[in-house]
Amino acid sequence: MDEKLHVKTLAAYPAGYCATRDDAAPMFSAEGVVDGNQIREVRLEEYRGQWVILFFYPSDFTPV
């Protein structure tokens, strides 16, 4: 059986939401460490009107 993934197979499926270029940014609200050492709610919506970089990283306390 051929287990390789082929473009023909994938191209036939609708892609769904990919969170990529030109997509609406999903809104969120989450706890964060802000203003030095305060823990408070951070809402993406607060930053409307500014460029924002979401900088995802794997984990605290790791090298790299």
Binding site: A30, G32, V33, N37, I53, F56, Y57, D60
Partner: protein, 137 residues
């Protein structure tokens, strides 16, 4: 960790462009707090450290490593009208180039101001290639 140290060094450039950076991992906010307090290289980092404890944010942005329960090394650039304009995913073992993040913000703003495309390897004509800020002690 070296990535966040590099973010700390370039953060003043990001703020100077009127932008914000939200650093996000699946650690708890309390882990973030302790991490900041005991890691000298990021103790002074002013960028918010966001906790994606539920994995919802990483999942929605399609950057969740489900096996690891952790986010990929991924950067998502969101414009002022909250549309995703760029996204890149890096290997687990290789840290990102934070200077390139600043250049991309500068390039977006240049493109917006001039209505022109931005060629490969463009840098601002005022020569303001971002350099890491002096480390505060």
């Amino acid at each position: 960790m070296t990535e966040l140290a590099a973010v700390a060094a370039f953060y003043p450039h990001i703020k100077a462009l009127g932008a914000e950076l939200l650093a996000i991992s699946t650690d708890s906010a309390y882990a973030h707090l302790v991490f900041k307090q005991i890691t000298p290289a990021i103790t002074n980092l002013a960028a918010p450290l966001v906790s994606d404890r539920t994995h919802e944010i990483s999942s929605a942005y399609r950057v969740l490593d489900r096996k690891a329960g952790a986010a990929f090394r991924a950067s998502v650039f969101i414009s002022p009208d909250q549309i995703i304009r760029a996204k890149f995913v890096y290997p687990k073992e290789i840290g990102r180039n934070i200077s390139e993040h600043v250049r991309l913000l500068q390039a977006f703003q240049y493109a917006q101001e001039t209505g022109q495309g931005v060629p490969a390897n463009w840098v601002p004509s005022n020569g303001s290639q971002p350099a890491p800020a002096e480390k505060k002690r």
